[in-house]
């Protein structure tokens, strides 16, 4: 069988299409930046802040993609575990880096358990992992509220009254994380060209990147990539498919928990009942903006994605205001874009998958045409 012949136009189009989302965002940003009137120094600073704040969370998404389970909408589970860790250290008054580390330690078993549960359920819903993990996020959110809103302060002792709702139990809507606010960011911070760089945070992220690169090269990483490509082939080769999938979700959930702690130490306040719900959507949107797809994502996608997505996020309200005189419009615009980009990425992925299926037919038609031509 021969190669499918494509015209040059088709080839260029397919390259453009493969990168359509990042290209679209670059165009958005290129138009938005002058409209917003922000200085490059300001934008540079903002992007550095947001890379430090969000990258860890987004990198947590890479592992399940590697194992072929798509975008892990269940990363909110990890975020919830991280928040529980933070509530405890806020209650116990443990400050600074030790506080952060303790929060991470507390979050680990919770994340691991939730990840295991999520992995188990996803193994029962093969082929619709994404929508299932999305609903798991909602379901566990109910359980989280049960624990945090009703359990904490009544069953689980919380001694700091500043955390507890006036009625005597349940955590307040916002928890002040002043004790660990920016502790990691301010550690080793330096200024270059007037932009302050949170070196320690970036080092942590770099370490995580190295971990991911190293992990891909381990036996487990190799198994995950094998499972991600073809469950049955991997199974026939003796790889424990179900177990490998569960491990990938557990790992992703634990990393998401740490990521949430890094994220919240930068923000400085915890929105007890909202922070985690948004974070999954924004992380996934950012990763997709960076050019990742449902089955392929790299560290490069993470950083390109964070930069482009947040650039759009920063400029759109002011750009909207300057363009139409409505800041609110820009706000809505960025919400629309976040959801829109996920929709487009999901649709493109499906459409591409089906077009690959028709390839064999096109080849056959081509062969037949060649034969007919040869006969004449």
């Amino acid at each position: 069988m021969s190669e499918l012949r494509e015209t040059r136009k088709e080839k260029i189009l397919s390259i453009l299409e493969k990168n359509s989302v990042p290209i679209l965002f670059t165009v958005f940003c290129a138009l938005g930046i002058p409209l917003s009137g922000y200085s490059y120094g300001y934008l540079g600073q903002e992007i550095v802040v947001r890379i430090a704040r969000n990258s860890f969370l987004i990198i947590a998404l890479l592992v399940p993609i590697m194992a072929g389970m798509g975008l892990n909408f269940g990363m909110t589970l990890g975020a919830m575990a991280g928040q529980i860790g933070l509530i405890f250290i806020a209650d116990w008054g443990i400050v600074g880096i030790p506080g952060m580390i303790l929060a991470m330690i507390i979050s680990t078993p919770i994340s691991a358990f939730l990840g295991w549960l999520c992995g188990k359920i996803l193994n029962m819903a093969k082929g619709r992992e994404m929508v299932t993990s999305y609903i798991i996020g909602f379901f566990i959110n109910g359980v989280y509220q049960l624990i945090v809103l009703y359990g904490m302060g009544s069953v689980i002792p919380i001694k700091n009254p500043a955390l507890v709702l006036p009625r005597g139990y349940g955590i307040r809507n916002t928890v002040n994380l002043i004790s660990i606010r920016k502790v990691l960011d301010n550690l080793l911070a330096i200024k270059i060209f007037g932009i302050s760089i949170p070196v320690a945070t970036l080092l942590v992220i770099a370490a995580l990147c190295f971990f991911i690169i190293w992990f891909r090269k381990t036996k487990l990483g190799q198994d995950m990539r094998a499972v991600g490509q073809d469950l049955e082939v991997a199974r026939a080769a003796g790889i424990k498919v179900e177990h490998t999938r569960i491990v990938s979700v557990v790992l992703s959930t634990i990393l998401a928990g740490y990521g949430m702690i890094v994220y919240l130490q930068n923000i400085g306040t915890l929105n007890t009942y909202n922070s985690h719900m948004q974070i999954g959507m924004f992380s996934i949107a950012a990763l997709l903006v960076g050019g990742a797809t449902v089955n392929r994502a790299s560290i490069g996608n993470v950083f390109l994605g964070v930069s482009l997505f947040h650039l759009m996020f920063i400029v759109s309200p002011t750009a909207g205001k300057n363009l139409i005189g409505e800041a609110q419009l820009g706000e809505y615009f960025r919400v629309f874009v976040s959801y829109g980009v996920i929709t487009i990425a999901l649709v493109l992925y499906e459409v591409r998958k089906r077009r690959d299926l028709t390839r064999a037919g096109r080849l056959l038609a081509q062969d037949q045409a060649d034969e007919v031509e040869a006969k004449q």
């Binding site: 069988m1 090269k217 198994d223 049955e232 991997a234 056959l364 037949q368 034969e371």
Partner: protein, 536 residues
């Protein structure tokens, strides 16, 4: 070649039943190191079951195990899973590739057997966190490729390679196992070009020189004669011949494969199809049906005849009706009763007055979760507008439950379908009765031409003759032209007027059904490129 000493593999009186259906009876043969044994037989002769037993596949245990004894290097073995077989040095290359497209050749060859090195992390967290030793991986893979005597770049992703190289990768995977002693190759050349096949055969010879025993399963008898030391012919689950390959001819082997004790009592009806006008003509049809690709088929079907289409599995016979109906992407020209039928849309096919009973009963033929009356009436309701009450000048087309029930009951009686009522769900019926429902569905369409694909697949012998009789009756009573596709040659010879044999996606020849089996056998195994058009 004379072999001495203990055979590496010996089968003694292997028998196997599937639900009371005997598929293997007292199969015995032995295989020595360095020997190449050609295993040939028609579809359903029992080759795959035999290989499943050899390879310890779970399906064998799940269906009650097997009788007889299997010895590997003189030791009796009874494998519980394929991993036991692998550990014992048995390697199998299946017809379907089991490769990961994005992995490199080397990664695929050593899938789940990657060489790894311990690190302090894995000391703590277990060996799944060992780093993979890429260098050793590549060198091991290259050694395995080297054994084949071919050159493939071990770093290429498998997905981008030609089929031949994929096949070599599969074989190299088995060779990379240090303990490999017996290698089973199932139709290794089926997807290869002639040059690729030649290279592969050379590689097989080389492996046998190194002392690996090889079971070579192929329908290309020329290859079998060329490369094998011994030929074992299976027919109906029995070893009918076990002879040295030297001096055998293709014709001989083909006759052994298909030859049955001819049932003299069968009567062939005298049907002069030449007198009947062609009702359906197919020209230059290609069909992209996975595993059943059709290339450039031209065919004429005469009014009132029963035309059989036979051939070995995977050669494309099933693609013809599926493509003509529009279930799979197809191209070419199909003319029915003088009108060209646009392809790729089943509605055109059905509207023209044809119907199709699919070989895929559960996937295409039935609404498993719905009642029998729905299954029988649905197509006729949608295509012919039957079983509908019309109101408001036909604007409202209401399902007429009463006439649906009546029709269902009629066919349940006529075809003796065993069910509790017409409201039973289709999935609850046995295979034979499901098949009858599929036929009833097609009959309800009152087609002038009916395609029936593998009508007796997976149903017991009693039901088989009932289904075939129903088709014959239908043809004779209502004058419907029937095109029947089947892998069972004898079944085709029993009820068809003519039989076309499809090989490698093309019509290898069409013969009247009363020709001897050998003639059809030869057409089935004809080398695809050198096929001579035999027409009668």
């Amino acid at each position: 070649m004379a072999h001495t000493g203990v055979p590496i593999l010996e089968l003694r009186d292997i028998s196997k039943e599937y639900f009371g259906n005997k598929v293997l009876t007292d199969v015995s043969f032995s295989l020595h190191s360095g020997e190449i044994l050609g295993l040939v037989g028609e579809n359903g002769a029992g080759k795959s079951t035999l290989m499943n037993i050899l390879f310890g596949m779970e399906v064998i245990q799940q269906t009650g195990g097997y009788a007889g004894e299997m010895l590997v290097a003189g030791q009796t073995v009874r494998y519980q899973s394929s991993f036991d077989a692998i550990a014992d040095g048995i390697g199998m290359v299946h017809q379907e590739f089991s490769l990961l497209p994005d992995f490199s050749v080397a990664e695929n060859i050593l899938l789940n057997r990657e060489p790894h090195t311990r690190s302090f992390v894995s000391e703590v967290f277990g060996d799944r966190l060992d780093s993979i030793d890429r260098k050793t991986l590549v060198s091991k893979a290259e050694t395995a490729i080297g054994k084949l005597g071919v050159s493939i770049d071990s770093s290429t992703p498998v997905g981008t390679m030609p089929v031949g190289h994929k096949q070599f990768t599969e074989i190299a995977r088995e060779l990379s196992k240090d303990s490999i002693r017996i290698l089973v190759l199932d139709e290794p050349t089926a997807v290869l070009t002639e040059q690729e096949a030649a290279i592969l055969l050379k590689a097989v010879k080389k492996l046998s020189d190194e002392g690996i025993a090889i079971i070579f399963i192929s329908h290309r008898l020329q290859e079998v004669v060329d490369v094998c030391d011994t030929v074992v012919v299976l027919r109906d689950g029995k070893v009918v011949h076990n002879e040295p390959a030297a001096g055998l001819t293709i014709e001989q082997i083909a006759r052994w494969m298909v030859g049955r004790d001819v049932d003299q009592s069968r009567t062939h009806r005298a049907f002069d199809y030449a007198q009947a006008p062609p009702v359906l003509t197919i020209e230059n049809l290609w069909v992209d049906m996975p595993g059943e690709t059709v290339r450039d088929v031209s065919l004429a079907v005469h009014k009132g005849e029963i035309l059989g289409i036979g051939g070995l599995a995977g050669q494309g016979k099933l693609g013809i009706p599926n493509g003509a109906m529009g279930l799979f992407p197809a191209g070419g020209k199909v003319v029915f009763e003088g009108e060209e039928i646009a392809l790729n849309n089943p509605k055109n096919f059905l509207d023209a007055g044809m119907a199709f009973v699919s070989e895929d009963r559960r996937g295409v033929g039935l609404l498993l979760d719905e009642s029998l009356d729905w299954n029988i009436s649905f197509a006729a309701m949608q295509v012919r507008g039957k079983y509908l009450k019309r109101y408001l000048n036909g604007m409202l087309q209401w399902r007429d439950e009463k006439s649906i029930q009546e029709t269902a009951r009629h066919y349940i009686d006529a075809l003796q379908i065993k069910c509790t009522s017409s409201k039973q769900k289709a999935k609850e019926l046995s295979g034979g009765n499901q098949q009858k429902i599929c036929c009833a569905k097609a009959f309800a369409l009152e087609p002038r031409l009916l395609f029936v694909s593998e009508p007796t697949r997976g149903i017991d012998i009693g039901a088989k003759s009932l289904v075939l009789q129903a088709l014959r009756d239908y043809n004779e009573k209502s004058g419907t032209t029937i095109v029947m596709i089947s892998s069972e040659l004898e079944e085709l010879r029993a009820i068809c007027d003519r039989i076309a044999i499809v090989t490698d996606g093309r019509i290898a020849g069409i013969l009247p059904a009363n020709h001897p089996s050998e003639d059809f056998g030869l057409l089935m195994v004809a080398s695809p490129k050198g096929a001579t058009e035999v027409t009668a």
